[in-house]
């Protein structure tokens, strides 16, 4: 009960309240926000349509992957339903040489980075210990250890400083991760070295089954100034606002202004993962409240009000989503089984004679089963 009270305080950790940057309301109305309007002045109707398509496509990727898990094709999947705007808005603000360090839920950010769809699923299918080459898309593979990626991002950003480059490291994490020591340490170092890193916190209200009010009695964004890091609280279901605040933070980092903390106030509308049942700990009314603030619906309403939501557009978006879903499914089902010797890959970045010897031994051991040689050597 006490938690409820905290939640209901305007501007409390859960409630969008004072100081929340919003450019498009839940009803789809564009509202002026002088400090940020200029940052998105270039986002015309076509660009907004592009953001909308992105959000539809990633929602479809998410639902298709969830279905694949239910069909036994994936071991697990962490849905991002409801967080599309926070991830697409920030993800689309990045330059290709910026580097992303994310948790396991930022599949929409990975989509923005141009990840191969099949690569998203490798780990969740149990076919590989990581999904992609981080340097191919300048995004590290998802971090499962809560909050650890913030340290990696800060370290990377310190490296950028040493290189004299103007790329920015962006790290994504949730409200629960802010209770982790790693995140706090990362913020201390980021501030100390004025490293070009953006802490992008998606406050989705639930750290698995713990409500945000349990861990944060004030808005999470309020913590950052204590570290000497400027922060901003943005409506995480408003893709345009997320784009604007991320651009602002990027500009600050590129110009030597150091780190920024962004709290995107959003909502995890689905379960923590496919192995979770939120109905056991979450009030259905809360979900209903947030469904009314759905990031897709509001952009839909906004585009519609500007005459940008005609049938041709929706049909094209649907076709794109269908194609992506089909590609994702085909990539999942067609994924080759890993070879036993794959475990030796990616251990060292350079050849290692000791490891090569082990691999050689292991392969000779496996070949001693040549009679029953089948693909199930891995089981």
């Amino acid at each position: 009960m006490a938690l409820k009270n905290i939640e209901s305080v305007p501007g409390g950790p859960g409630e969008p309240g004072s100081g929340l940057i919003q450019l498009i309301t839940a009803d789809g109305v564009r509202v002026p926000e002088p400090a940020y309007d200029a940052l998105v002045a270039d986002i015309d109707g076509a660009a907004l349509q592009g953001l909308y398509e992105d959000m539809v496509v990633v929602r479809r990727i998410d639902s298709e992957a969830t279905a694949l898990q239910r069909q036994g094709e994936l071991a697990l999947w962490p849905p991002l339903l409801g967080q599309e705007a926070a991830q697409i808005g920030s993800g689309r603000a990045l330059r290709s040489d910026d580097f992303v360090f994310s948790s396991y839920r930022e599949n929409a950010v990975a989509y923005c980075r141009g990840v191969d769809l099949t690569d998203i699923l490798r780990v969740w299918r149990g076919n590989a210990s990581s999904g992609w080459d981080p340097f191919a898309i300048n995004m590290a593979t998802p971090q499962v250890i809560i909050g650890a990626q913030t340290l990696h991002a800060t370290g990377y950003a310190m490296g950028v400083l040493n290189d004299g480059d103007d790329a920015v490291a962006v790290t994504y994490f949730g409200d629960g991760a802010t209770s982790q020591g790693d995140v706090n340490e990362a913020m201390v170092f980021a501030a100390s070295f004025q490293a070009p890193v953006i802490f992008f916190c998606q406050n989705n209200h639930w750290a698995i089954s713990e409500p945000v009010g349990l861990q944060a009695h004030v808005p999470i964004a309020n913590r950052a100034p204590g570290f000497g890091i400027p922060s901003v609280r943005v409506d995480g279901n408003d893709v345009l606002a997320c784009l604007a605040v991320t651009r602002q933070a990027l500009a600050r980092a590129r110009s030597g202004g150091g780190p920024t903390f962004i709290e995107a106030v959003t909502y995890r509308m689905g379960p923590h993962t496919t192995a979770d049942d939120p109905t056991r700990y979450r009030d259905a009314n809360e979900l209903e409240d947030w469904a009314a603030k759905d990031p897709l619906k509001r952009l839909e309403a906004h585009l519609d009000s500007r005459g940008l939501f005609d049938e041709a557009f929706t049909a094209a978006v649907k076709a794109k989503a269908d194609a992506v879903a089909a590609e994702l499914r085909a990539g999942c089902l067609g994924m080759p089984e890993p070879a036993p010797s794959d475990v030796f890959k990616h251990v060292y970045s350079t050849p290692n004679s000791w490891l090569d010897r082990q691999q050689d031994h292991y392969e000779r051991y496996l070949s001693s089963f040549a009679d029953s040689a089948s693909s199930d050597g891995s089981s």
Binding site: R70, E73, L74, S209, S379
Partner: protein, 508 residues
């Protein structure tokens, strides 16, 4: 051209689950389904989830009925899909079991839990650990006390299942480590979730957890009095006292049937440890909690039970008339509905029954509202969810509230809020065909009313003997704060309403 039959086997829907229960089918044989169309609701130990169809095609066979518990990897549904040319590439997918009749080469469980689920042997994570402790501790040389278990533990460290090991050797393993594991539930959860009430591990601190472990107290059953429900050292010590008290006296007195109807109560059959002639179930979890609550109630509040047998024929006739009235169309009206209403009315005249003895504060708390607890048989066992502010509800609203409460309870969805804050309870033992009992108070409440079965019996009516509908009411009350006079008046009032519903006019 006839299509190809594709069999879909039950996948592991959570992380490392071995079985699921089919809640309902959304499709029937012959239905055409699209890819990802929801075909069934399935309940695992973790969640109720929707199953999307893995194929576009026609349902050829549903292999199991709703209510069946299906093992992961067992056939669930067969689809007839378009010919081989158009077959999706999932045909050979190992994870879903593919479409061959041959045993799947890889286990359906993807996440590395790796348990080979042998017939009859359910995964048993704890047992294996005990086995390895035993083999390591008592038989350092990997001796022969438990050859089967020890060998498996040693040779296959990743396998968490105890396959079909004879049950007998498993017993010594538990006895050798008498302290129950307190931090996690043991492996084989029943198909219905039992942890829904608490939802999470009880809050406490490591020293308190250690104390509980040393005393053999399961924290799940200990009410926490610290901030935010934190279980304190004193709570554990109190629970230990209650437990030892119950050892002495708990089994003696002939406890009435109604006694089980209190607090969160459930009984989990622990099938894994059966021996040939007797079954031993560790006293823990909900059962332990219930026992502690019962002992606390029975030996703290001096119980008095009174009985009243009445001719409820007019009430039964009233129910018949109400059912026919338009306002009550489709509403479930039963004797319980009327008894609940009568109780609320009688409480207005006898508020003492709706109170609580607050020992700590030295106060008697009289509630000016009625949170009416109803004992309900649920998948988790017997629970007493309550209807908030029942005194404010009309008969129609009360009927709706009772139906909602019952349905939630039956569906296993009774929430913690439903279970807390009760002020008085009704237990309907009549549904079991029982006439009367001496119900034990729901802890903290001053009264509980048991309603017996409505029987057609020869009864005095109009100076003659006639066949009438007769019911016995049993009322237990806490004699510390309710005197015989007040209890009797209350029971008489309830009886008077049931014997002649028109008497309400004289009471309100």
């Amino acid at each position: 051209m006839a299509g190809v039959i594709k069999e879909f086997r039950l996948p592991d829907l959570g992380e490392g689950l071995t079985e699921s229960e089919i809640v309902s089918w959304h499709v029937a044989v012959g239905d055409t389904v699209e890819l990802n169309q929801i075909i069934a609701d399935v309940e695992t130990a973790k969640a109720v989830v929707e199953l999307p169809s893995p194929y576009a095609g026609v349902i050829a066979e549903l292999h199991e009925q709703p209510g069946t518990v299906v093992e992961v990897g067992a056939p669930l549904v067969s689809f007839e899909v378009a010919g081989p040319a158009g077959a999706p590439p999932s045909t050979g997918s190992a994870a879903s079991g593919g479409d061959t009749g041959a045993p799947a080469k890889r286990e359906p469980n993807l996440v590395g839990y790796g348990a080979a689920v042998e017939k009859g042997g359910r995964p048993e994570r704890r047992a294996r650990r005990f086995a390895s402790q035993l083999s390591g501790g008592l038989n350092p040389a990997g001796g022969s006390a438990l050859p089967g278990l020890a060998e498996r533990a040693g040779s296959a460290p990743m396998i968490e299942a105890v396959p079909a090991v004879p049950a007998v050797p498993a017993r010594p393993a538990f006895e050798a480590v008498p302290v129950a594991p307190v931090l996690e539930p043991a492996g084989p959860l029943p198909a219905t979730p039992v942890r829904t009430i608490s939802g999470e591990r009880p809050r406490s601190t490591p020293p308190v957890r250690k104390l509980a472990r040393d005393l053999g107290i399961r924290l799940e059953g200990v009410p926490g009095t610290g901030p935010g429900g934190l279980i304190t050292r004193d709570d554990v010590l109190a629970a230990a006292q209650v437990a030892s008290a119950s050892d002495g006296v708990g089994t003696g007195g002939g406890v009435a049937p109604a006694s089980v109807i209190s607090s969160p109560a459930t009984f989990i059959p622990a099938g894994a440890q059966d021996t040939a002639r007797e079954t031993r179930t560790p006293i823990k979890g909900m059962r332990k909690h219930t026992a502690a609550a019962m002992v606390a109630s029975a030996f703290t509040a001096p119980h008095v039970t009174e009985f009243l047998t009445i001719d409820v024929t007019p009430t039964m006739e009233l129910i018949g008339r109400v059912k026919e009235s338009k306002a009550f169309a489709g509403v479930r009206i039963t004797p319980l509905t009327i008894v609940a209403k009568a109780l609320c009315i009688a409480l207005q005249r006898n508020p003492t029954l709706n109170s609580r003895w607050d020992e700590a504060a030295g106060d008697i708390v009289q509630f000016n509202y009625v949170n009416l607890g109803i004992a309900a048989a649920t998948p988790r066992g017997l629970l007493v969810p309550n209807i908030k502010d029942a005194q404010e509800l009309s008969l129609l609203e009360l009927a709706g509230a009772l139906t909602g409460l019952t349905e939630r309870a039956r569906a296993g969805k009774t929430g913690p809020a439903d279970l807390s804050g009760g002020t008085i309870s009704i237990t309907n033992i009549g549904v079991f065909g029982i006439d009367a009992g001496t119900p034990i108070l729901n802890p903290g409440e001053a009264a509980i009313l048991a309603m017996g079965a409505v029987r057609r019996m020869p009864w005095e009516y109009g100076g003659q003997i006639a066949l009438r509908s007769v019911m016995t009411l049993s009322l237990s009350f806490d004699h510390r704060l309710v005197d015989g006079e007040q209890g009797s008046r209350f029971l008489a009032d309830v009886g008077a309403i049931l014997a002649d519903p028109g008497m309400v006019l004289t009471m309100v």
